[in-house]
Subunit: 211 residues, 2 copies
DNA sequence: AGTTATTGACTGACCGGATAGTAAATAATA
DNA sequence: TATTATTTACTATCCGGTCAGTCAATAACT
């Protein structure tokens, strides 16, 4: 008789526990390479090392699999954003510098996040709720944090009061352009991200800081 | 046998001359609403007021129709960009103000251009040459013009020399964000474009101009 | 322990519907 | 009647989704 507390690895159960993630990973690769409609479940199954039937054990439909996959990979980016809130204090200029450096390092260089973004854009007319989720979990927190930082800077007299306080999007817009650029051109039209980062920082600091 | 030089208006030929454009228009609407793979030639034909067979008289394949459609609608945006070059002279600040106003009015508010952009992003892995064409005909001319304007401003002493001169993308990046925002959220997450435009202009002018 | 029964993750053949592409027939025009 | 733009009917293929069946792992039993 088996001990109730026996933690011995149960092959069958472990398989079942890992399958969904394996399928989601495979789905991410195939969907991001070929788009929603073009991707076949057969190919996803092949990549995951199972057959199509198995996918239906864990997911109701192709649509449900896609939604689950996007949610899964949005979650990863959200965790990265949450890390950002643990940033250091100091002058507003230093704070912005540090956070922008973080953003460029973790968000811009994260191809996975960008591929999710591509799918969201492509499928936004069909799956608007996924885009809204991205707004709620990634974009809005970033913008709220930024707005807060700018307001505090204004209160401290470090930042000049301006229309920018109410449109913090303009401050991080250059990051959106990098995403757009890389989604469209990948490496074919090179973008010197290092120089671009410096220019971004300079524009924002010159544009915001009180003289 | 028809007279070779006969210039008489031939109804049949006029029809034939207009069909391709009618089909391209219909293709744009259907492709932009449903994406490449999901759109059926039957629906495009229906919208164009013909049947599927007719499409094959003018276009080799679905793929060729898609490529032709994107080229056609990129051309329209390119014409708009070329208009921009006829801008007035004056102080660099005035020039930027005028050109940004033009961009927001003609590019941001042009849903068609944005739908093309969505398709380019969605299909970039499959049709990279279309994205490159967009770069060549739309993006690069804008950036060249901007770089030129900034350089001239620096020469005149109106603009401070900075890293921004070599990364003019950061200056128009807020426009890219509007595109991204509207592609993702349409009207669901509202963006006050008027206020945003003011903030953009303020950031850029404060960021660039010599004090 | 050895044998048998049961479970359940997984398979793979199959179905129905959809659709890109073709080509013969037809309608419109001159 | 001759030409040609267009339609109609058709084929071949692909793919999402289903389901009866398989087999290895486990539990029950002697």
């Amino acid at each position: 008789m088996a001990d109730v507390l026996d933690p011995r690895p149960d092959v069958r159960r472990r398989r079942k526990a890992e399958r969904p993630q394996e399928i989601l990973d495979a789905a991410f690769h195939e969907f991001s390479r070929n788009g929603y409609a073009t991707t076949t479940l057969e190919r996803i199954a092949e990549r995951a090392g199972v057959t199509k039937g198995t996918i239906y054990v864990y997911f109701d439909s192709k649509e449900h699999l896609f939604i689950s996959m996007v949610r899964e990979f949005t979650k990863a980016a959200r965790d990265t954003v949450q890390q950002m809130f643990e940033s250091h204090d100091g002058s507003t200029a230093d704070l912005l510098r540090a956070q922008f450096a973080f953003i460029y390092q973790h968000l811009v260089e994260d191809r996975r996040r960008r591929e999710v973004l591509r799918m969201l854009i492509a499928e936004a007319p069909r799956f608007p709720e996924l885009a809204d989720r991205y707004h709620q979990e990634i974009l809005r927190p970033c913008l709220d944090m930024l707005r807060q930082a700018i307001r505090r800077g204004v209160d401290r007299g470090e930042i000049r009061a301006s229309a920018i306080v109410d449109s913090p999007q303009v401050v991080i817009a250059p990051i959106a352009l990098v995403d757009l650029w890389l989604m469209l051109f990948d490496e074919r039209q090179p973008l010197d991200v290092k120089a671009y980062f410096d220019a971004h920082l300079e524009l924002v600091l010159n544009g915001l800081l009180a003289k």
